[in-house]
Each structure stands twice: as structure tokens, then as C-alpha cells.
């Protein structure tokens, strides 16, 4: 169990968007006493009603400007494709000295999108909690989502240390392990660990569903041999993932190009029956698995 704070870290926190991540943050703020007040804004009254029924907010409004007024922390938890529209709307309404943060899966584009619309007195501290499930929406959230997961914070140059510390403290309180790095480095690592795997999973599931109907049905029936794991990844939120690929274009294309070259080489080895080359690769990849287990990113048996 996570331990509640004795003093709230913030006076008023606004969450712009309450999908899986936003609602999980709200659960955490409420349960762990991280703010005196929480205001939530969303695009539909239905979502706000859900939030109110779950007891996740002191204020729930369709009006983004109203939601952010008097806040010392504003977290954008909406699809990255909506950031520019949001910041154009709220940028001039933020309190002097407020922190604006987000939870997007790409970080350089967030800085590019937001910085032009905020004054120098506002602290931009982008963050990326590396956590999720295959479920989305305000009902999917839970306070423990971030526990023992990474939260990568990517402050732009010349960020004030005090503001950075407060955001780190906030995510630590939610149970996350904090890592601070440059936005460009973050985007390159995520292109390999998350974006490329998702792209591949979406692709192969699409390839399977384009087969002759009876064959697709049998692929589903016998999916336990590996394909099933890809379907779980390929069930992730379409809007979020569209935005990720559009916003991390260069790093994804770079990693995808490397992957394509490597799979073409393997294809050639299969065609020409080069068993030794296959065996060498298949042995080498086992070491990476061991390293993942050693890094405690996975239990040995699960």
C-alpha cells in the first residue's frame, strides 16, 4: 500500500482529460492526500458524471479555463493530438508560477507544442508514466497503476529545480520510480521499447485479419502460440497510438528501418536454409531476456 502524505503537495491540481491515466492520477491524489483540491475537465458531460460518481474530483467542468484557474499544477492527460488546442485555450489563464505537466508518450513534441503558448513564469515539466493496461476510459483507472513503474521526467533546459522536485515528489508519492532525461533520449528509447513493438503488433494482427475468413478464424482459435500476445498489445487505444506515431515520427522511422533491414536478412537466411545464422541470432536474443529479468523488469516465472 502507498502511504498518504501528511501535507498536500499542491493547493489545486487540474486534470485535463480523465482516461485511464487521468483517472488513475485522480484516484491517487484523493487517496494519498496529494492536493487540497482536484478539478477535472473532459470533453463530455458523461465522462464528468462518471468522475463525480467515482468521487474523483472536487470540481468537474467542461470549461478548461475554469478548471485551471488558481491551480499550482495542471496535468494534461488528453491525447497528444489535442495539446495545441488545449494550450491555446488555457495558456494565458495559468496562474503565475504554476507548473504545467502532461503524461504523453512522446516528449520532444510536447515541448514544441506547449512552450510557445506559455509565459516565462510558468514551469513546463513534461512527464511520462510508463504504465498502462489494455483498458481505457475513466472507469479503468486505479491508484496503484503507477506503483513500481517508471515515470520519466524530461525537463527542458533551464528548468527551475524547485518545480522539477515538486513534480518528482508527486510521482514518487504515486509509487513511481523517477528517471530524469532529455526529451530526445526519451523519445529514442521509447521508439524501441514501446512504439516499434506496438507498430509491429498492430501490423501482424492486421495481416492476420486480412487472410481468407476461415483461416483468420483458425488463427484466432490457435492463437496461443505467440500471436495472442500481439493481440493484447494491438488492443491499445487507437487515438493515443495514432498520436504517438505522428509525434515521434523520426525516432520510430529510424528504429523501424533498422528492424526492416534485420528481418529482410532473416528472410534471406530462411529462404537459403542458412540454419547457422538463424541459430546464432536465436541464441543471442536469450541474453537480452536474461538482462530484462536481471533488471527486475520481469519476474522469472509469470
Amino acid at each position: 500500500m502507498l502511504k498518504p502524505e501528511s501535507e498536500p503537495l499542491f493547493k489545486k491540481v487540474a486534470l485535463i482529460g480523465v482516461g485511464l491515466i487521468g483517472s488513475s492520477i485522480a484516484h491517487g491524489i484523493k487517496g494519498l492526500n496529494l492536493a487540497e483540491r482536484v478539478s477535472v475537465t473532459a470533453q463530455s458531460q458523461r465522462t464528468l458524471d462518471t468522475v463525480i460518481n467515482l468521487g474523483l474530483a472536487d470540481e468537474a467542468t467542461l470549461d478548461q479555463q475554469k478548471a485551471v484557474s488558481d491551480c499550482d499544477l495542471v496535468i494534461i492527460c488528453a491525447p497528444m493530438g489535442s495539446y495545441v488546442r488545449i494550450i491555446e485555450n488555457i495558456g494565458s489563464k495559468l496562474n503565475l508560477g504554476a507548473i504545467i505537466s502532461d503524461v504523453g508518450s512522446v516528449k520532444q513534441s510536447v515541448i514544441n507544442d506547449i512552450s510557445p503558448h506559455i509565459s516565462e513564469d510558468i514551469h513546463l515539466i513534461p512527464a511520462h508514466p510508463v504504465a498502462g493496461t489494455e483498458h481505457s476510459g475513466p472507469n479503468a483507472g486505479f491508484a496503484e497503476l503507477f506503483k513500481d513503474r517508471w515515470c520519466i521526467i524530461t525537463p527542458p533546459p533551464n528548468t527551475e529545480q524547485l518545480a522539477l522536485d515538486k513534480v518528482s515528489q508527486f510521482w514518487s508519492a504515486l509509487g513511481a520510480n523517477i528517471e530524469i532525461m532529455s526529451p530526445a533520449r526519451h523519445d529514442m528509447i521509447m521508439a524501441m521499447t514501446s512504439h516499434l513493438p506496438h507498430l509491429i503488433a498492430y501490423t501482424i494482427v492486421g495481416t492476420a485479419s486480412d487472410l481468407e475468413k476461415s483461416l483468420t478464424n483458425e488463427v484466432i482459435k490457435f492463437s496461443a502460440g505467440g500471436f495472442r500476445d500481439f493481440t493484447r498489445i494491438a488492443a491499445s487505444d487507437p487515438t493515443m497510438w495514432r498520436d504517438i506515431f505522428l509525434n515521434n515520427r523520426e525516432a520510430v522511422l529510424e528504429m523501424l528501418q533498422r528492424f526492416s533491414e534485420d528481418i529482410t536478412a532473416l528472410q534471406r537466411s530462411i529462404r537459403w536454409g542458412e540454419g547457422d545464422k538463424l541459430f546464432d541470432l536465436f541464441s543471442r536474443t536469450r541474453e537480452v531476456r536474461r538482462a530484462v529479468i536481471d533488471a527486475k523488469q520481469e519476474k522469472m516465472y509469470d
Copy 2:
């Protein structure tokens, strides 16, 4: 728990090879009274000693011909690359009326490899239990490995029904659900559900390990975002997987070609910022996930 048979199904079963699958079958035969006697043969005395210590065999010998003598069922549980060598050695030593089966992941090539070396009185009934873990070797086996998993049986034309029934009964007793289909159909389905996913997982893990060292380390550290699932798949047994790709060459190359076309199209969509095309695919793949869950190939939450 699986229910032991009141009468053994076979007099003497020989297992040629005792890795994960072979040792799991041995556990099952012993625990469920599926044969009066079990003989095991392996390539090293060390493996045989393990088998004896685990109480998995009545006979354990390095001599394959001795192991199969007087058997009414022989199951090859060795890498597919060794089938020809094995059948050349034991083919003429099989009892008249005996059944020879296997557990390989490709089925047409098994028939091509084995049939020329056995007489017409021997029943060739290839089978593929679609089950496994990321662990291998005789110590990794357990009787419940096949429970509620598919076992696909691919009898050649003109197979005697009685022999087919006995093999089906054997796998049912081990807890598997039986499916009977043609070897060609099996190989095409597995190319998509299992072989292509493994090829992709091996490739991406290889691509990641070829990055600059410090970046590879961070990919491992932050592997939870999708990459981790691929490392589990890419930790599978190298010899087994080399043989799968060499033996199911045509079906794998066909599915890989379709996949490559599809990912190239996606690459283009990312480069040109075609968000709608990405969104359409990412929505479509969710339906396949639902179908996998509906087909009870996966629990909703796991």
C-alpha cells in the same frame, strides 16, 4: 486434476528425446497410467540420469533401437532437424503395427522425412501439442503442460482410424483438446500464429541489442512498454526454432511477405502523417483481440 486411466492405453511407449515436451509426456504417462512401461532415450547419459532420478522411465538408454523394441507407441520428442537420422536408425526396428508419432511444430516436413523409412504396417500419426514455456530441458517438464491446450493431429491420407483414435485418446488423457486437420493447413495456421510472431520477436530483440551499448541498456531498463513481451518470446529454444523455420520455409515466407508489405504501408503512413489510416488499422485490430477473448484463448484480465 487429470484423471488416471483404469487400463493403460499402451503396453510400452518410447520417448525419443526428453526436453520440455518429452519429459512432460513422461510425467503424464506415469501419473495417469497411460502405459505399462516407458522407455526413454536421449543423446547424453546426463539427461538419462535426470530422467531416472525423476522417476520418469522404466528404461533409459542411449541406444535408440533398444528403446523402441517391443513398443506399440514411439513418440519422437527431439528437434525436427534430427528426425531423418532417428528414423533411419529405428525405422526397421519398429514392431509391426506400432504407431510412430512426434510433437514437432511443423507437420508436412515430418511426413516427408519419416514415411520413406517405415514399412506399410507402421502407423505414422504426427501430432503437435500447442504448448510450451520459455524453459527447456528434462527438468522443465510437468504433467499439466498440455491441460486445456490444443493438440493438433495431422494424419496422412489413408491412416487407419483405430490408430488415429488411440493417439487422440492418449492426448485427451493428457488433458489436451484434439483437433484433426491436414498437415498443409496446420503449417499455414502455425506460420501465422506462432512462427511469424517468433521470427518478429527474435528480430526486434536482435535489433535492440545491436544499438549503441548505453541505449541497449536503457531499452532493457524501460522494457515494460511492450518490448518485454517480445523478449519472452525470443527466449525460446534456438535449436527448435531454427528447425521450425527451415522446415516450414514456404508458409513462413508467404506470411512474412504479407507482413512486410503491410508494415511498409504503415511506414509510409507515418512518414506522410496519414493519421486516419493509422487510426483505422488500430481500431480494426481491437476486434481481433475481442475474438481471441471470445474464443477463450485468453482471460479478459490477465
